[in-house]
């Protein structure tokens, strides 16, 4: 059905379609609209699910862990400080191999208090063993949330997954949304190691060095297998519902001399900049990075690259710029922009390309090339 919705409402609609048995959540701006809408679905009988209004995000993830290992599909949503408050349980969810799906509405961290878009919150959970995808439109927020359940619960993966959308810039923007009849696209939840009272087992016991090491390798092996599963699920989604996704969304890249790599809404805004640059005769393209974990292979050989990071690793550099450099060997022009919701327009992005100096870093509006 074709309608309009905010990014938050789109996520909630996808959750309703995927029918998790347990939703445990704590509100936080700018995510609150997601769990409010889901609570309304549950209260109104549109979603048969146990909604647990917990007292903290740490408890939200703990409740999801308990329900998930109990054999029930689970969902939660959070943002920023809420995500960080979950941190210990986020590691646990991945280590226990539980396919929990979480929407994270990307927001800056305090102090100072700031509720606007930034990717530092999600990147701070980089090494936890969660799959992470970043979306750029309301439709994609819906589609990616649907696919998240399917990908996470695949027996070749069995890892939790985070769907990231930019705070306010996407969570609160209203765009068109085409909801789908899900059919059997997301099969019934099946966890091979779910608690079975007829066959009691120990969960989370003391684990010695050798077994621990083996478990960690098993996470990485599944993370590697996840690449193929993601491609498979995205292909099937396209066949069933007519919308295609991949590790990146490439725009006018085929003959491009210079490619802008960005994530989330800045990656969509970049496409407008590319059209402007093309009009000036600059052969530019845009590559919106969708998947962060597993990090995709990027085909950028022979191009100049401008990376926009809506994040920063202090004492090191832009996380995406350095990830890209380590994967491709390319020294990008690293632009740090949009932190805490800083306004970045397509004109600004076009300027990043016009003024690019590969191998250097600049903080938009703050520093010159450094």
């Amino acid at each position: 059905m074709l309608t309009i919705a905010t990014g938050n409402k789109a996520v909630a609609a996808a959750v309703k379609a995927a029918k998790p048995g347990v939703i445990a959540a704590y509100p936080i701006t700018p995510q609150t609209e997601i769990v409010e809408q889901i609570a309304e679905y549950v209260a109104g009988g549109d979603l048969e699910s146990r909604y647990i209004p917990v007292e903290s995000e740490h408890s939200a993830m703990a409740a999801c862990i308990g329900a998930s290992v109990g054999g029930v599909r689970t969902f939660t949503a959070t943002s920023s400080h809420g995500l960080l408050y979950m941190h210990e349980m986020i590691h646990w969810a991945a280590g226990a191999r539980l396919p929990i799906v979480m929407a994270n509405v990307n927001r800056a961290l305090g102090p100072g208090w700031n509720t606007w878009a930034e990717h530092t919150d999600a990147f701070s959970q980089r090494d936890t063993g969660w799959l992470q995808v970043f979306v750029g439109t309301v439709q994609e927020a819906y589609d990616a949330t649907l696919m998240a359940f399917r990908i996470a619960e695949d027996e070749r993966v069995l890892l939790p997954m985070m769907v990231n959308l930019d705070g306010f810039a996407l969570s609160h923007i209203t765009q068109s949304l085409d909801t789908v009849e899900l059919g059997d696209f997301v099969p019934p939840y099946h966890l091979p190691h779910a608690i079975d009272t007829e066959n009691p087992l120990g969960y989370g016991p003391m684990t010695g060095p050798d077994d621990h090491f083996r478990f960690r390798w098993d996470i990485e092996r599944s993370m590697r297998d996840a690449r193929g599963v993601i491609a498979e699920v995205e292909r099937e989604f396209a066949e069933r519902f007519g919308r295609s996704y991949g590790p990146t969304e490439d725009y006018r890249c085929e003959d491009a001399d210079v490619v802008v790599v960005a994530m989330g809404t800045l990656g969509k805004e970049a496409e407008v900049a590319i059209d402007r640059l093309r009009d000036e005769g600059i052969k530019a393209g845009s590559m919106r990075l969708r998947w962060f974990r597993p990090f995709p292979d990027l085909d950028l050989a022979g191009r100049e690259v401008v990376v926009i990071d809506r994040d920063y690793s202090f004492g090191f550099g832009g996380v995406v710029a350095h990830s890209l450099k380590s994967k491709t060997g390319i020294e990008p022009y690293s632009v740090i922009a949009g932190l805490g919701g800083q306004e970045v327009t397509y004109n600004d992005i076009a300027d990043f390309v016009r003024n690019r100096r590969p191998g250097t870093e600049t903080w938009f509006g703050v520093s010159d090339h450094v």
């Binding site: 309009i4 700018p30 609160h172 923007i173 209203t174 805004e269 306004e343 327009t345």
Partner: protein, 175 residues
């Protein structure tokens, strides 16, 4: 692309007006986005929201710096906010006012949305509802069609007085 900036005060319904307008444009078969700018606002503080309407899919997420149309739901804001900032040379202004407002250059129109809301007894928590009547005025200006404006209102609100208020604004606005 047609770009609209809506000035209001927190609690006056500017954000909902933006959503209603986007929905009406969408029902007209156009692409539309509504994008509130959330600051640290609270009830009564000046707020701004943005609507973009186009025949093509809209990829712009940044704020609107050069609007085609500025809507002012509360003209007292004009004392503290330069509502005309960046308005295109051929741009239009729509004011919620019973009378012309001094100092408003450009193609300025005015309609008494507050009076229309009060006449329909459309009041929530002591504030007249402006976001549904303004849609009628926008239909008169050709931003959306009247049937789509009415459909959008009915999709979001069950109280038929909202549609009546929109029709009243459609009739009252002088073009």
């Amino acid at each position: 692309m047609y770009e609209i900036r809506i000035h209001s005060r927190g609690g006056q319904g500017g954000v909902t007006a933006a959503k209603l307008l986007a929905l009406a444009a969408f029902r007209d078969g156009k692409h539309a986005t509504a994008c509130p700018f959330y600051g640290a606002e609270r009830r009564g503080a000046p707020v701004v929201s943005f609507v973009r309407i186009d025949d093509e899919p809209i990829k712009v997420y940044s704020q609107i710096h050069e609007p085609d149309l500025v809507i002012v739901l509360d003209t007292s804001i004009m004392d503290v906010v330069d509502v005309l900032d960046g308005l295109k040379a051929d741009g239009t202004v729509l004011l919620n006012s019973a009378h012309p407002v001094a100092g408003c250059n450009g193609t300025c129109r005015h309609v008494d949305l507050t009076g229309i809301a009060l006449a329909q007894n459309l009041v929530i928590a002591g504030s007249p509802i402006l976001n549904t009547p303004v849609l009628g005025a926008l239909a008169k200006m050709g931003v959306v069609t009247l049937p789509s404006a009415e459909q959008a209102i009915r999709e979001m609100f069950s109280d038929e007085r909202n549609v009546k208020a929109a029709r009243a604004a459609y009739e009252e606005l002088k073009i």
